[in-house]
């Protein structure tokens, strides 16, 4: 077939377009003119504009595939687990809930059908943390939100899930609102509430016997964390909060939708009419808000920027608590087990010393400063002083008050 290449300006058509080839060309040109794009994967359904050239079905399969790969290749969920899903109502945790629910349903169907029924199916609970009494959020919206959460969870097909709606202040004896309000730095306040949230989730998990905590943290959320942590001087501890698995807690935290972009999750919610709660964006004067809007600008310029940030940070060394200990891999199929066992035969690292507020590992410099001061003060050191010394430099700057006044949180941590 004669070819002119893309440089040819005129609409010339090769001489031998008669016959089959010609027919195909004509059909294609008609299709292009009626602008029906086919899914690039299955080539059958219509490609959706917001799904990057895929049809709705393939798009869902693509996201679920990422979720499933994350869960299986990191042995996130074992058959005997009691899994607690942290549900904020937002689109990311909504999709996490949906996918976990689907995985559970499929496992249950297999179990029903199997003869031996030797391995049980993991159970799932859902928790919604009520924070309106701590920060300045509109409390009249809170009742609406709770009603929506209830309806979403009860609307999930069987097996039914326990829903725990917990006001955060009920879990602590101190006056949380006063405590949070006493922090001067806006970013410090937000970060402190985040740390409280994790503590609260862990307390709920412990109280109701859950042994794993699922967070709906997306790739976009992690990209935001990477930049925020960099900007706060937390370069050393940055990898700790962004891995698939985090065993610093009694109920290890797992991130099954870590590889999905927020945009993709929002699209999925819209395509499948997954009800979620619209969170109103409050004007943010904090560093976290600035990072959010910066990433939004970058995303407009290049939609895969968040993935690149994730990939860069993924090359940073994770910590020894970013993997399960060997006895957690009991239920991993034997063909996969060597992969996990290999990790264990590395040289034993000394355990990290963690900041009591944000649980980030302390750097060598922070540790040295702490130990030096502790040695200097010796037994004369007051409890509050010792506490101050044990915190990381970031919490020191943005959360702890400048003077070592007696905080109303004795014995808090």
């Amino acid at each position: 077939m004669a070819v002119c290449g893309s440089a040819c300006g005129s609409n010339c058509v090769p001489k031998d377009t008669e016959g089959e080839e010609g027919e195909r060309l004509k059909r294609l040109s008609l299709e292009e003119e009626s602008s029906v794009r086919r899914c690039t994967k299955c080539a059958e359904e219509e490609a959706r504009k917001e799904c990057n050239g895929l049809c709705a079905g393939c798009f869902r399969a693509y996201l679920y595939g990422k979720f499933k790969l994350a869960v299986t290749s990191n042995a996130m969920i074992s058959p005997t687990d009691k899994v607690l899903v942290a549900f904020s109502g937002g689109p990311s945790s909504r999709v996490a809930l949906e996918f976990i629910h689907e995985m559970q349903s499929k496992a249950l169907a297999c179990w029903d059908a199997s003869n031996s029924q030797a391995l049980p199916v993991f159970t799932v609970g859902v928790v919604f943390m009520e924070e309106c009494n701590i920060s300045d959020e509109l409390s009249d919206q809170a009742d609406d939100v709770i009603a929506q959460i209830r309806s979403i969870v009860s609307g999930l097909s069987p097996p039914s899930k326990d829903l725990h709606i917990v006001p955060m202040e009920s879990l602590f004896s101190s006056d949380l609102r006063k405590l949070v309000g006493s922090i001067n730095d806006a970013t410090g306040r937000e970060d402190f509430v985040r740390h409280l949230r994790m503590l609260s989730l862990q307390r709920v998990a412990f109280e109701f016997g859950y042994n794993k905590l699922v967070l709906g943290l997306s790739a976009s959320g992690i990209a935001r964390h990477v930049l925020s942590a960099t900007v706060k001087g937390q370069g050393y501890s940055l990898p700790a909060d962004m891995q698939y698995v985090d065993t610093r807690w009694k109920a290890p935290v797992v991130l099954p939708i870590r590889d999905c972009l927020e945009q993709e999750l929002v699209t999925l919610c819209n395509l499948e009419s997954l009800k979620h709660v619209q969170v109103h964006d409050k004007p943010c004067t904090s560093i976290n808000g600035l990072v959010s809007s910066f990433i939004a600008r970058l995303r407009e310029d290049n939609s895969s920027r968040e993935h690149t940030i994730l990939r860069t940070a993924g090359k940073l060394k994770p910590f020894n608590f970013n993997k399960f200990s060997s006895n957690q891999y009991e239920y991993v199929p034997s063909r996969l087990r060597p992969k996990f066992q290999f990790i264990e035969t590395g040289e034993p690292e000394s355990p990290e010393v963690l900041c009591p507020i944000c649980t980030s590992p302390l750097t060598a410099t922070e540790l040295a400063t702490t130990r030096c001061s502790q040695q200097m003060k010796g037994l004369n050191i007051k409890e509050m002083e010792a506490f101050y010394l044990s915190c990381c430099q970031s919490c020191h700057f943005q959360i702890l008050p400048k003077e070592e006044t007696s905080m109303s949180c004795d014995g808090f941590f």
Binding site: S6, G53, T230, K232, L238, I309, K315, L316
Partner: protein
């Protein structure tokens, strides 16, 4: 009652005193720490911090011949001035030279070179000028004409780095110092995160680089804020050229710069925090890092067979402006999906047996 009111009034009309010396009137607010201090104390803390950085990091030894990368801009002018001062005050025993690069940008570089020539006289430091034209037979004006305004900063940066090394070798310098400040390094850390350049990320916070090469280079202004450099130059009435390069508006660095400026407004210490993060990053041992070798064509240091300058120059001389720009052809996984989607979203094209035929809509 009256006495209290009177003394209150006096408090308000008395000018604030410098928080460091408590003697002189406060004249400015220090960008790094937001302290209200007088001019003299500002000069002292500014110069003293740089002196401590030089000493604590063992940047120089007596007898070193130092080439100061001088563009005529605020950073290099202040660098030349302060280094000259500290060299005398603390007896570093250094031989200082000004080294300037002429990229051949009409209306920008020729003006700033005039500033450097004046600096040569003002500070009494010998000047050496090296030009792109004599090194590469291309000026930036010619390069921009050939390749446009999208990737010109890449060309200029790559060529300048080599030009500085060659110029320093010509004057037999032991070290090169550049005026990269804290803002620059913070921007670079962010840029490398955004671009996925883990190799550069691991190196960009080092105060001295190229120690295993012929001429190491260091950045004494690593912890010095850009705002403070401007303030210092202004109060000391130093002669510098303050216009932005005429070809720079489209540089990607602009994103990071804007972000850092906003950040500094909320939390000034964030700039130093970014640098600290960069220093604390630990790269996973399983990550593949490029190995340092030498260019097969010119012998310059390079992690590939040919150094970037040679590749870019070849592209220019062969009329292939994209040579050496962007990703290599061999890509895997995500890149393929990306480029495939990119093709899908671009003009309609039909992949015929012998090539592409484009359909007009």
């Amino acid at each position: 009652m009256e006495g209290v009111e009177a003394s209150e009034k006096v408090k308000r009309t008395t000018p604030r005193l410098c928080s460091l010396c408590n003697q002189r009137k406060a004249a400015l607010r220090r960008p790094k720490t937001l302290e209200q201090i007088c001019r003299e104390c500002f000069y002292n803390v500014f110069e003293d911090e740089i002196h401590r950085v030089i000493v604590e990091n063992n940047l120089f030894k007596p007898g070193d011949r130092i080439a100061i990368g001088a563009s005529g801009g605020k950073d290099s002018t202040v660098l030349a001035y302060v280094l000259s001062e500290l060299n005398k005050r603390h007896n570093y025993g250094l031989d200082l030279f000004l080294l300037s690069i002429d990229e051949g940008i009409t209306g920008y570089r020729d003006d700033s070179l005039e500033t450097v020539k004046r600096n040569e006289i003002q500070y009494g430091l010998p000047l050496k000028i090296v030009s792109y034209k004599e090194l590469y037979q291309w000026t930036m004006d010619e390069i921009v004409k050939a390749i446009g305004l999208k990737n010109n900063c890449t060309f200029c940066g790559v060529f300048r780095r080599q030009a500085l090394d060659r110029g320093a070798a010509l004057i037999q310098a032991d070290k090169i110092v550049t005026g990269h400040n804290a803002d620059d390094i913070a921007e670079t850390v962010l840029l490398n995160i955004l671009r996925g350049d883990i190799a550069r990320l691991s190196r960009c916070t080092s105060i001295t680089t190229g120690e295993d090469g012929p001429i190491p280079r260091c950045k004494p202004f690593k912890y010095t804020y850009e705002k403070e450099i401007v303030m210092y130059a202004y109060f000391k009435k130093l002669d510098y050229f303050s216009t932005e390069c005429i070809y720079s508006p489209n540089a990607y660095r602009g994103f990071a710069r804007e972000f850092i400026k906003d950040l500094e407004r909320i939390r000034p210490r964030a700039i130093l925090d970014i640098i600290r993060s960069g220093e604390d990053f630990r790269i996973s041992t399983t990550t593949r890092m490029p190995e340092q070798g030498t260019c097969q064509q010119c012998g310059y240091i390079s992690s590939q067979k040919l150094c970037k300058a040679c590749v870019l120059l070849e592209g220019l001389n062969r009329g292939l402006p994209k040579l050496g720009i962007g990703r290599k052809k061999v890509c895997s996984g995500e890149d393929q999906v990306q480029s495939k989607r990119h093709l899908e979203n671009k003009a309609l094209s039909f992949h015929g047996k012998h090539g592409n035929v484009e359909w007009k809509r």
